[in-house]
């Protein structure tokens, strides 16, 4: 177990991608980073660059236009990586399931590791989802968490 694997689990960096969500879950993801919930104390940092990221947080359902962007970003993240689908509509399409431009949940395009329920998902639930993802990640890199 090297230093890189350890730090990947101890301080994972996050890439937040918004498909065609309603913003509800996006502002909750952002709220996780601000003083009340403050996930930065666990070493989680929000990154704009996919090549720096370990965990991808996706909000919103996939539509026909963002599908390509989503796949593109996913492929740019170095392995091992985790994908968290935040919110009902990122998990299944949710309230938008019968809209004509919607393909459905994020798992229609890329593999998803953790689904966070809720519309909008509460910050507590999102943090819970991240913790679950980290447990999976530590198994994947072979580090005891």
């Amino acid at each position: 177990m090297g230093i890189i694997q350890t730090s990947q689990v101890k301080s994972p960096w996050i890439l937040h991608f918004c498909n065609s969500s309603c913003n509800g879950c996006d502002i909750e993801v952002l709220a996780c980073l601000t003083p009340l919930y403050d996930v930065e104390r666990f070493g989680l940092v929000n990154m704009g660059n996919p090549k720096h990221a370990d965990v991808m947080v996706v909000t919103g359902p996939v539509n026909y236009r963002t599908a390509r962007v989503l796949k593109n970003l996913y492929n740019q993240i170095p392995d091992p990586k985790m994908v968290i689908a935040v919110g009902a509509c990122a998990s299944t399409g949710g309230v938008f399931h019968n809209c004509y431009n919607i393909m459905g949940g994020v798992d229609k395009v890329i593999p998803v590791d953790v689904y966070v329920p809720g519309c909008a998902a509460r910050p507590e639930a999102i943090i819970d989802g991240v913790v679950l993802a980290l447990q999976k990640l530590s198994k994947a890199v072979g580090v005891a968490k």
Partner: protein, 360 residues
């Protein structure tokens, strides 16, 4: 002449969580041309509103945008009520006003935080968002949810605010007001904030009117225009006066939003003191008749316009929504050319873009 470069700004980029793409042409560091490319957030909500029955559309309309969710839901209910037509009880009107202003407060605080973040003023970003959590707590206490409130229904509202909650609301709002005031003072006088925003992205009054802009963006250019002046819901009884600045730059837009956040708290406090007792809901009879109606509402980002057409069944024949950001994006084509590359994020942010509203 320096060679020109075309660089895409987005759809995945650090200033906004939302996907918007601007194809920007630069000459060295100067922006010369901008072409917005939209469509990443399109879901097809208007069409889905024709498929669903009319009471279910409230949930869909609330998810046009999660930040102004409450006001989208209220606007949808108001337009269907005008289609009928039916009158909601006065207490329900006041409750709707209170929740609208509460979401305006949280939305403006959110924006002020994002602005501070775009300026690299991390501590102010955190402070604004810390205060905003208190407003979200009030929303959660009174509506049951932090973000998507779902309190409005056709014919009134689903929840009442009792005396106990009212007391907590008033106390918290007064606290929040004090804290926001202190922060806004910093924002308005800090030399680094001023250096980055004064004279950046200037939009004159004539240009703003010509481009059909609306909301705080328009008011920062010196136009006194606000849908709340029409006196819908309870605004007619609250003595509302719009806030206007004249400089039309990013600084003026920040000031308008900051003062509106404070004004929204005052409006809530006043609405609490004037709120009448009584019913909060009247049951609508049957299905919406074959009729059409429009409704204009002032959201945090500007004017939203709802059009609904019924055909006598339980489904609407057509629902059309025109959102504030749709009207404000054209102003980017005027403000961005001539500006520096480093100022692009602040200018884009200064229209308070809400892409999921615009594309639905």
């Amino acid at each position: 002449m320096a060679p020109r470069t075309v660089a895409p700004f987005g759809p995945q980029h650090p200033v906004l969580p939302e996907p918007i793409q601007l194809k920007i042409t630069y000459e060295d560091e100067k922006v010369v041309n901008v072409v917005p490319a939209l469509g990443y957030g399109h879901r097809g909500i208007e069409k889905a509103c024709e498929i669903n029955e009319y009471p279910k559309n409230i949930h869909l309309c609330e998810r046009i945008c999660g930040i102004c969710s409450c006001m989208h839901g209220i606007s949808y209910c108001e337009v269907v009520e005008r289609l009928w037509p039916m009158e909601v009880p006065p207490r329900a009107k006041y409750l709707r006003t209170i929740w609208s202003e509460m979401s305006r407060t949280h939305s403006h605080l959110l924006w002020l935080g994002l602005l501070a973040d775009a300026l690299g003023f991390e501590s102010m970003f955190m402070q604004f968002w810390r205060i905003r959590e208190k407003v979200l707590d009030l929303l959660e206490m009174t509506c049951g949810s932090r973000v998507t409130q779902s309190v409005s229904v056709v014919g009134g509202v689903r929840r009442d605010i009792d005396d106990e909650q009212k007391k907590i609301c008033i106390r918290t709002l007064q606290e929040v007001r004090k804290e926001v005031e202190a922060l806004v003072n910093v924002l308005a006088t800090d030399p680094t904030v001023k250096a980055r925003t004064v004279g950046v992205g200037v939009l004159t009054k004539e240009q703003a009117i010509l481009l059909g802009n609306n909301g705080p963006h328009l008011r920062a250019s010196g136009v006194k225009e606000d849908c709340r002046m029409l006196g819908m819901q309870a605004y007619g009884e609250l003595g509302f006066e719009p806030i206007v600045e004249t400089d039309g730059d990013c600084y003026a837009r920040a000031l308008v939003r900051a003062r509106e956040a404070l004004q929204a708290i005052d409006l809530q406090l006043e609405a609490f003191s004037k709120m009448p007792e009584g019913e909060i809901f009247v049951r609508p009879k049957g299905s919406p008749p074959a009729n059409e109606a429009v409704y204009r509402c002032e959201q945090a980002r500007g004017e939203v316009f709802y059009y609904a057409k019924g055909n006598g069944t339980r489904n609407l024949e057509r629902l059309r929504v025109r959102t504030p950001t749709f009207a404000n994006i054209p102003s980017l084509l005027v403000m961005l050319p001539g500006s520096e590359l480093a100022d692009v994020p602040i200018i884009v942010l200064s229209i308070d873009p809400c892409i999921s509203c615009t594309e639905r």
